[in-house]
Amino acid sequence: MTRTLRLTFAIVAAVTLAGALLYTSFAGSAEARQPSQMTNAEAGRDYRLTGIVVTGTVKRKGDALLFRVRDRKGGASVPVDYTGQVPDAFREGREVIVTVQKEGETFTGKPDSLITKCPSKFDDGKSKPGEQQMEWRDGSDKVVEGK
């Protein structure tokens, strides 16, 4: 095999692979929308909803988990009714991705589609502990076993 032939073969293989990678990247990925982009969502169609779980909105009802998801920058939020596996890392204020369908005003989550970011990551060291000065910490939170 001559040097030119080898080079041609390598370039053709690289371009083919790159094309396939690009095609499958778009075909095999779903657009993750934030709540503000869900205003025109069609009923019965799957969407990947991403955003932050709004503080104070997480409620459980039987097997279902109800919560609101807001844009990362705040603002718009939508209600989610989810049934299925809930990752341990799911918390108010954490970023989630969940596959949903619009049903009336609520977005119903596809079972077991809820993903939460890993709790140990993305800590930028900016957290401010002690912002709430724990008014209950007057020593009275201690318990004595058997009381």
Binding site: S29, S120, Q133, M134
Partner: protein
Amino acid sequence: MDLLGRGLLVLALIVAVYGAVASLIGARRLKVAADGGPDATAFGALGGHGSAWVRSGRRAIYLVAVMTTVTFVLVEIIFIRTDLRFDVVASHSSTTTPLGYRMAAPWSSQEGSLLLWVWLLSLWSSLVVRLAGRRMADVVPWAQAVLLGLAAFFLFLSVFYSSPFRLSDTVPLEGEGLSPLLQYPSMMIHPPMLYSGYTLFAVPFAFAVGALAAGHVGSDWIRHTRRYALGAWLLLGIGIVLGSRWSYAELGWGGYWGWDAVENASLMPWIIGTAFIHSVMIQEKRGMLRTWNVSLILATGILCILGTFIVRSGIISSIHAFGSSTVGWQFLTLLAVMTGGSIALVTWRRGMLRSEHRIDSLLSREAIFLAGNVVLVLLVLVILWGTFFPLLTDVLTGEQRPWASSTWGWWVGPLALALVGLMGLGPLAAWRKTTRAQAWRQMRGPLAVGVLVLVAGTLLGGGGRVDVALALLFGGFVIGAVLQELQRGVRARRISTGEAFPIALPRLIGRNRRRYGGYLVHAGFAVLVLAVAASSAFKDTHRVHAKVGQEMKVGGYTLRYEGAIGDYRLKDQRIQKLIIGAKVGVFRGGKRVETIRPTREFFPSQNPADGPVGRFFNGEAATEVALDAGLTRDLWVAMQPDGDALVDVYSALDKKLKGTTAPFARGAELALGFVRLYAQRPAPVTFQVIVSPLVSWIWLGTLVMAFGALLAMWPAPDLQARRVRAKQKARIARDLGLAREQAS
């Protein structure tokens, strides 16, 4: 304490910068001296340990190691004492965090993990320059400069952007605690393992830069850093698997790999490191692939920094998170310098990096190694692209488009299978050239083992999936190839020495540790790929909502919810956690196999607005999976109590406590009473039950790989004597060649 810590960090930074500059000056003077320039006297002052500047740079490495060690001990002390004056302690630990986890809490924070990085780097750097001694005197100064430069970067971050000794404006009464999800034994050592791998890879990276800078691009730097590269590969691999195991047993979703950006970040340098470890053999044997090898190790070093950047900047989570990161731009700058510098060095030295030989045949060991290398590099390119694709679409369209898990499988599956196939072929092929007839003779035995494994696997229920069938065939082929090589080696040894099999086998392995250690790694990897294919293809998952007394049938088992568990743990008379769980009887064929107890642990929130009783259920929660692991299958059970039942009770109790005196003290007692009562009058729960085959073989395969890597790293007892003999033989051969040339 804070002043001492800050002072040490600043001093370490100054020393690291000085050491890097001193090493560069020393390297430059040595180069001038070696070239016979005006500063040739500096070369005379070498004294066998390098010029005064180089020696000074070396001492700077030792000093940085001492100072970062003391700093790290100080950080450990403030965590062990739960000194809440420090921000890092208040936000990552608490008085109720158990001692072991308090000691591991530093590396759950950005400040602690950056310090861990530089501490480990300084230790490895000290070790490598100490062991380098008089060898590679032209390369070591450059390597010193690179290692100290990296240390200076991390120290710079620790001093100016992410100090573990930053004091809180207001000292809280209690810390936020270590995330309960991280309170898991393997998570205590997972980050140090990963960081050990990253920092150890910095050693061959630095020596590669040194070799290029000094123009000493032969195989010396490879031989000198081979064990460091292997050690890095081993530790990074162990770290990755520990993370997987944690994900499987603790995170409550039942998977061991999710193609999360953070997982990919550690996998990429490991894969490129794997390619490097293999392709350097071709350079050592045949003087080929110099550009490729140096590029691979430079890429590995860059990917290690990229991995830390991905985890610490949050860039993949969102482009906006990058803007709010305290260390994002700094890492990006370092990556740009490393990438630009690497490209410039390789381009500059391209003439020196030309191969001595070419590949003679596609049916040769070097061709198969190279093909394996290409597959590994493709794997990394795919993972890199898939990891950054959501970010790319975010920048271009404002929308993130993360890859679906099927897309990952579509790309990674075939590449991993091709790799396993090549792993089987590699050891069977000869260097330079193998004829087709020889290749067939070598392959037929292992191929028969592959077919046997395929048939056995299909009969045992592994049929119906092409990917699993190929994993069985190729996995069996690799194991067959390893067994065949062992059998041939033992036979040859027995013929030449007359030793019995039990003596010949360990002696054969002992004298060829690198070779047989490598084969063992191959066998372990084949087992791992097989187990991954089978466990993902035949996973049986069920969700069941059940009351006490109800039964569910999953994967040939009957599970009966027999009773509830309500428990708690106290520490210093404070509630550390409340535990709600289920007692589940596992039956097979009507007989009780065992009783398992999946639970959910609730850690108190620090927010008084959650209510005196409610705060014990509104904090972090962690699933404690009941895992019955076996050689053929794993039974994985997680439970979640009905939320509304809990909310109804604690809301009612909180309402009752409104307006009473010391509601929080009573709240704690009521919470304990509540869990006790729950055990007697439980609410329905939701069970997640997964039965998946061969998961245990993933961990066993990893153990085999780790053992193989250790074996390959371990120096042979008579290594020095063999080196001397080899040198003598080479000299005689050269003299004979010269004599023949003269005679002709």
